[in-house]
């Protein structure tokens, strides 16, 4: 009787062993975490062609503010007024139990002399090196 019922079960394509395996896999999948790729940006990118419009000895404070807006910070150092603009970019890679968050920052520093004319410009772009990575070990 039991054999008959088992045979009937298989004939209809319902192998209990297969179903059990499938159920086990589903339970297993529901227990493990998934994956995620998340990106966060703070501030607008600095277009390099716009930075090139800043000319030493010519561009004034007002023109810089028109191009880039109000600075995030104004620093006074060594007789210079310095406008500081910042941007941050972060990329998170997460797979199961491994994750890595890389954060990079761009900084634009515009130095003004006592007349409010640009004396120097320092720009660094580190956000272009920020990558999605999952492996947290090593470098």
């Amino acid at each position: 009787m039991l054999r008959e019922s088992q045979a009937g079960f298989s004939q209809h394509g319902r192998n209990p062993r297969g179903l059990l395996l499938l159920a086990g896999l589903l339970v297993l999948l529901s227990m493990v975490n998934g994956c995620a790729f998340v990106r966060g940006e703070v501030g607008e990118p600095f277009p390099e062609d716009r930075i090139e419009t800043i000319e030493k000895g010519i561009t004034n404070r007002q023109e810089v503010a028109q191009q880039f807006g109000a600075p995030d910070e104004i620093v006074q150092a060594n007789g210079h007024e310095i406008f500081h603009y910042r941007r941050f970019d972060s990329k998170l890679g997460w797979l199961l139990f491994l994750s890595r968050l890389n954060i990079g920052s761009d900084h634009l520093w515009v130095f003004f002399n006592s007349q409010g004319i640009v004396d120097d410009v320092v720009f660094g772009n580190r956000t272009r090196n920020v990558e999605f990575q999952i492996w947290p070990f090593g470098e």
Binding site: R17, L20, L21, G24, L28, M31, V32, N33, V75, Q76, A77, N78, H80, I82, H84, L96, F97, L98, S99, R100, L101, N102, I103, G104, S105, D106, H107, L108, W109, F111, D120, V122, F123, G124, N125, R126, N129, P136, F137, E139
Partner: protein
């Protein structure tokens, strides 16, 4: 279940579950600081642009003794967590959270001092006492 998966399968499932109950997280801020790149800078001659060409724009600028200081930062933190309650999912319908975790973070700081005429003066790198490690034991 043992018949379906076999002993190796069961062990594999347990291993996977135990792995899913722990996680490794890393957060990296900016690029590593390479002090060797400053060797070509000449005190009194190299300019702000030479410094920026080697290291990029600084994260901070401060008034220094008779000049200014560029400050660069690189951060690295590692966190590991193990949820021992996760293993109970095999035997119980609920999994109480029993976490042990630890995080270690370090910041490397590089100071570049500039003279009043904004030429390079000297640099100081502050390496942390130890690099961060993954470990879950918080006590």
């Amino acid at each position: 279940m043992v018949l379906v998966f076999g002993k190796t399968g069961i062990l594999g499932v347990l291993l996977l579950l135990s792995l899913a109950g722990c996680d490794f997280r890393r957060v990296v801020v900016n690029d590593p600081l390479v002090a060797d790149s400053l060797e070509e800078l000449v005190p009194g001659k190299s300019t702000i642009q030479d410094v920026a060409g080697k290291l990029g724009a600084p994260d901070e600028i401060e008034e220094g003794a008779g000049g200014m200081v560029f400050r660069y930062r690189y951060g690295d933190s590692k966190t590991m967590r193990v949820n021992f309650g996760w293993l109970l999912r095999v035997m119980l319908p609920v999994s109480p959270s029993m976490n042990l975790g630890r995080g270690e973070g370090v910041t490397y700081i590089l100071h570049v001092a500039l003279r009043p005429d904004l030429t390079f003066d000297h640099s100081v790198i502050q390496p942390p006492p130890d690099t961060p490690h993954f470990w879950f034991w918080p006590f």
